[in-house]
């Protein structure tokens, strides 16, 4: 099995193609064409990245859980809980120095996301709840609790701002798109690489995959199956929490009820679309982000001949076409969704 699956290759080629086109549009007379600017301008690329980040983090969250054999459809709920926690932390530390308060809030988001992951782990491992139900419980619980507890008068002062990376951010096109971003964006992109290496080239990753593919064999080798699953589910929860932190502390700056707006579900799609690999997920998330960006660019360019609802359908229709044709059959970890009992255990 090649770790650089077909989806990952498609994904990377897609990103490279988009950057190449943007460079052409920016530096050659191609940029005089309105449509070329709409499709490949720097602003479209910037928007793409901003829309893709929470999806990437959500998909990574799913990958960590599912590689170890725990289905996580609760990403949406974990994300929302993380966003809310980050907001509460930020709005109650407004008088701290800005960066200290922001970093503190990110840590709180990570913590609450991790706790949601732990809850999912406990429900599905300790109490043997069906993992899809457990995920649904997490989603409903998070939606209910965050709305119930949300103080509509609270305000968060300030959010993360872009930090240009010296020299790299000077490169035309690539610089402003990739190297002039706020910190969570850099972190998310870095995490794609980190999770890729961790899953495919470390002992922990080998164990995680063993637990997800063939728990009995892993157990025989002396790996504590359920401990691995708890650990991964918590880690996954933290990543979803980070996605929530991104929404509140970097993208929007405030909390709104139900502000994840289905991003957790789209992350799930990105994870499956990317065949449970980090780079595949990055590619899928970029594709989603790009279609969302297009809808924005169309609006800015004053394109009214196509009803805006149909433009907005693009991300979803593209996904359906992609999962039906482009990817072909994807394969989930083999032991996914099944609780594990040790031989003759309790």
């Amino acid at each position: 099995m090649s770790f650089w699956s077909r989806t990952a290759r498609v994904a990377v080629s897609l990103v490279v193609l988009m950057l190449l086109m943007a460079i052409l549009v920016e530096l050659t007379p191609l940029g005089e064409n309105k449509w070329m600017r709409v499709f490949f301008g720097v602003s479209a690329l910037n928007f793409t990245l901003r829309a893709a980040i929470p999806l990437v983090l959500g998909a990574l969250s799913g990958i960590l859980c599912e590689r170890s054999g725990i289905i996580n459809i609760g990403i949406e709920g974990m994300m929302l809980a993380g966003a809310f926690a980050g907001f509460v932390a930020k709005s109650s530390t407004n008088d701290w120095p800005l960066y200290l308060s922001l970093v503190f809030s990110v840590i709180v988001s990570l913590g609450v996301g991790g706790l949601m992951g732990l809850l999912h782990g406990m429900l599905s491992i300790r109490f043997r709840m069906d993992q899809i139900i457990s995920g649904s419980v997490i989603i409903i619980l998070a939606a209910g609790l965050t709305s119930y507890l949300f103080d509509r008068d609270a305000i968060a002062d300030g959010k993360f701002t872009p930090i240009p990376i010296p020299l790299l951010s000077e490169i035309p096109v690539i610089g402003p798109v990739l190297f002039n971003n706020p910190p969570i964006t850099y972190l998310a992109l870095l995490l794609v690489l980190v999770v890729h290496i961790a899953i495919f080239y470390t002992r922990w990753g080998l164990r995680t995959r063993a637990v997800g593919e063939h728990p009995r064999a892993a157990d025989t080798e002396g790996i504590n199956v359920n401990l691995m699953r708890y650990f991964n589910t918590m880690l996954g929860g933290m990543l979803a929490g980070l996605a929530g932190a991104y929404l509140v502390l970097e993208a929007v700056g405030q909390f709104q009820e139900g502000m994840t707006a289905g991003r957790g579900f789209i992350s799930l799609a990105a994870m499956i679309f990317g065949n449970w690999t980090p780079f595949g997920a990055l590619g899928a998330a970029t594709l989603f982000g790009y279609t969302q960006a297009l809808q924005n660019e169309f609006l800015l360019a004053g394109v009214t001949t196509i009803p805006r609802q149909f433009v907005s359908m693009l991300p979803y229709v593209v996904t359906i076409i992609a999962v039906s044709g482009l990817v072909g059959r994807v394969r989930a970890p083999a032991a996914i969704g099944r609780p594990y009992d040790t031989e003759g255990g309790r």
């Binding site: 709840m129 209910g144 507890l149």
Partner: protein, 366 residues
């Protein structure tokens, strides 16, 4: 019978107690809240009618999700199918003036079901022909349906955008359809202020038919076999592909019927915001009812009552209605994991607790 009810009742009691704890923790009065909740759900004729009214779409979307589960399919697409049902039924309902009711109403209902069926069959068809995962496709189709529904009633824009085909010009800037003609409205059993319509019998009829279909017919046997073991089903000569598409079409038809009944019976028109939570609630209700048609009815009754009481609760006690969602999540958790309740109340465990129904067989693909 007693044992079947024991866990759900204990689950409800525990969830209400935990909900009260949360309220106390954040300075709300749980007793006042629950009084309001009960009054809003059962305290008067209007409360009862509102509970029943909320129950109808839940029964149908719950059935939709439950039927798909029987074949090992996860239908997250009930909300999209609901919207398509609403749009198709309203499209027939606002046209064809002069038709008698006994033709127009069935026509509108069938159109709505057809809309849902198409929307349900697409993910089934894509799954068997290309291997596209039904979870992704149904989620995506939800968004597409919401946008499509929005377009059909779109009031047009300031930059010269054309309005949608079903938009009511007399509504000016509001995006909604005209009222459904009288001949296509589901009649009231009790008119305003009670507003209970004959759709409730349609929903119960659907429960009966689905129960019969799943447990008493060859098709139902095939659906259940495919759900339990697709490989064995194929070996036994069942056409798995056909069964998957058929099941998704039935599921879609049921969710479409939910939208249809809400449109023709209650709203009498369609606007983009009418879809709401009901598709996702269908998942919860199906799980709570343990994917059995009769269980779905009980679960819908409980959730309908909670939804109906929530507004009154907020009005009477000032406790935010969102706490109801928390309680619903807890009920679902406790029913789905009887081990928690049994540990809490020190009940004896039975063998089958450890092997609770698994719904996630479809996740890994075949």
């Amino acid at each position: 019978m007693f044992r079947v009810l024991l866990i759900p009742v204990l689950a409800l009691v525990t969830s209400l107690a935990l909900g009260a704890l949360v309220m106390l923790l954040f300075g709300d009065d749980p007793i006042l809240a629950y009084q309001g909740l009960f009054q809003g759900a059962f305290g008067s004729g209007r409360a009862w009618s509102s509970t029943i009214r909320k129950m109808i779409p839940l029964i149908l979307t719950g059935l939709s999700v439950a039927v798909a589960f029987k074949a090992g399919l996860f239908n997250i697409g009930a909300s999209g199918q609901f919207v398509m049902g609403s749009v198709f039924s309203v499209a027939v309902g606002i046209h064809f003036e002069g038709l008698p009711m006994y033709i127009h109403l069935p026509m509108a209902i069938l159109a709505g079901m057809l809309g849902g069926m198409i929307w349900g069959a697409i993910p089934g068809f894509l799954k068997v022909t290309t291997g596209a995962h039904e979870v992704i496709v149904t989620i995506m189709l939800n968004y597409v349906a919401a946008l499509f529904g929005g377009w059909t009633v779109y009031a047009g824009g300031t930059q010269g955008q054309t309005p949608g085909p079903l938009w009511d010009p007399t509504a000016r800037a509001i995006s909604e359809t005209p009222d459904v003609l009288h001949s296509a409205q589901i009649p009231w059993i009790f008119g305003p202020p009670y507003r209970v319509h004959f759709g409730v019998f349609l929903a119960l009829l659907a429960v009966l038919i689905i129960w019969w279909l799943i447990y008493k017919t060859t098709v139902g046997f095939e659906i259940r076999t495919v759900g339990q073991n697709p490989k064995a089903a194929r070996y036994a000569g069942i056409r798995v592909e056909k069964t998957v598409v058929l099941t998704m079409a039935i599921a879609g038809g049921l969710a479409g019927l939910a939208g249809t009944i809400e449109t023709l019976g209650l709203n009498h028109k369609f606007a983009p915001e009418f879809g709401g939570q009901v598709g996702f609630d269908g998942i919860t209700v199906a799980l709570l009812g343990q994917t059995h048609p009769v269980g779905v009815v009980f679960a819908s009754f409980l959730f309908g009552a909670l939804d109906a009481g929530a507004a009154k609760m907020q009005f009477e006690s000032g406790v935010a209605a969102d706490i109801i969602q928390v309680i619903q999540a807890l009920v679902l958790a406790f029913v789905a994991a009887p081990l928690i309740i049994k540990a809490l109340f020190r009940l004896r465990s039975t063998q089958d607790d450890r092997h609770s129904a698994s719904l996630n067989t479809s996740w890994g693909g075949s």
